[in-house]
Amino acid sequence: GYRDLNQVDINMSDPLFTKQWYLVNTGQADGTPGLDLNVAEAWGLGFTGKGVTIAIMDDGIDYLHPDLAANYNAEASYDFSSNDPYPYPRYTDDWFNSHGTRCAGEVSAVANNNICGVGVAYNSKVAGIRMLDQPFMTDIIEASSISHMPQVIDIYSASWGPTDDGKTVDGPRELTLQAMADGVNKGRGGKGSIYVWASGDGGSYDDCNCDGYASSMWTISINSAINDGRTALYDESCSSTLASTFSNGRKRNPEAGVATTDLYGNCTLRHSGTSAAAPEAAGVFALALEANPDLTWRDMQHLAVLTSKRNRLHDEVHQWQRNGVGLEFNHLFGYGVLDAGGMVKMAKEWKTVPERFHCVAGSIQETHKVPSEDKLVLTITTDACQGKENYVRYLEHVQAVVTVNASRRGDLNLNMTSPMGTKSILLSRRPRDDDAKVGYDKWPFMTSHSWGEDPRGTWQLEVLFQGEVPQTGTLQEWTLMIHGTQSAPYIDQIVRDYQSKLAMSKKEELEEELDEALERSLKSLLSKN
């Protein structure tokens, strides 16, 4: 993930550009040089987001801002809070409704115009969807936003979610879930809408697998690092996070914040919270879409897994691990920081991944007691529906659909280990969650850590308590859902960089396919004899 910084010769007239360390990190504010989104390489190849529209679903957008107006897509914008086509933010004395305008700047702020900074995809179009600014959220407003003009909008960026108080378990309701399903299946002419979600601000007290939007397979959940690679203090962690970008989050130094556009034509250096993570990622995905407009929603996730880099990311709590096919991941950062240069290069020559299949790999429906001291260990052995038409051989997402109750929900821990030995933390302790009634009811705990693995074999689920006071609990159901391809997704991809994760994965697949072909021919020979 190291690059020679001397090759980066970008000069922009925008006054905040040199402070946008997440674009080009030269060590500003004690940051780590080279630890950025590597947009320089993508811009250098000519990819700046042309022809791609990103919608910011938030509290509105200052579409009169001189650094946004030229890239504003009015036709694709709407105000669902007030039911009119003008998502201009409502004024408050404390500028509470600046959130959407700040996120918009990170994606699409105009370049070289002497105003504020530069967007990750500075030639992309940004649409405003005002949907957060009403007394309460409703299913109808969420569903309408997520299904707004899916043939015009390519990428939906969301930097909000259920309350990050470490005791909420919530997600999309009925209409919104249907809207997401329609989006990934019918959006963008059938290639699928790209939903990008900031994973959460709850810090170590929360677990983003309890956020049904961030942990959905249909959204790309993005976490954030600060400018020297450490975690932000408000970062949550969970097994459904796919990759990371950047935000402020630990340092008082104002230059370590995120520079972007602010309300009423202003600029800011202090866009804080993990909300910047989603628009930055949306911008990187827009560059990839310009490089290859045919990318599907799943292609985008594969590219994120294959091109994200560990770079200098450092998590004091969770170690970096390799999964069963050698892909390196971290429980907070996912597969690492997005690399725009790597992504556009791979996107240009990417062949869409094979069809996706779904298999109920197994289910345990009997009630089991969760011990106060030790742990409850359950196993499911599966052939991943081999021999059937929905056989899954190469994993993408895995869901453990679990129903469990406890005298203190927050003290529950769930870990799952795949047949190839990859251990995912499905649920970590949430000390503030004192629920003793609702528990988890068929909650789909999702992990992307077994990406590319062979799901056949024995899966193990551990359920245990971690806390000061002994607790009691019962598990009523564990159903294992696996999602992925039947044929090898990378075997036909063109490899340019033989040090890349793609090269490693393709080699792995070739060996696996060869072994299985030999096995099949041996079996047929033996059966003939």
Binding site: M137, A143, S144, S159, W160, P162, D164, L175, D182, D201
Partner: protein, 85 residues
């Protein structure tokens, strides 16, 4: 657990009455109406801009709508919290 009921309504109109949605909304005291891009004949009825929400079903508007011959079904929208990150 009790949930908050807002004054926003999900209304399904009978086929053939879709064009009359603005008229229906006006007659029953709603501020505006918007056709949903999904489902059949589904509309979002926006209340007059009073931020108040009630725990009980919205007695007035909802019931009168139910009796309207152009209306197939009415569902009062639950309200829940979402936070900026």
């Amino acid at each position: 657990e009790n949930g908050i009921l807002t004054n926003h309504l999900l209304v399904q109109l009978h086929e053939g009455s879709y064009d009359e949605a603005p008229q229906v909304a006006l007659e029953h005291g709603f501020e505006s109406v918007r056709k949903l891009p999904f489902g059949d004949g589904l509309f979002h009825f926006y209340p007059q801009s009073s931020p108040l929400s009630r725990r009980k079903r919205s007695a007035g508007h909802g019931q009168s709508l139910q009796k309207d011959h152009r209306v197939k079904s009415v569902l009062q929208q639950a309200g829940f919290d979402r936070q900026k990150r």
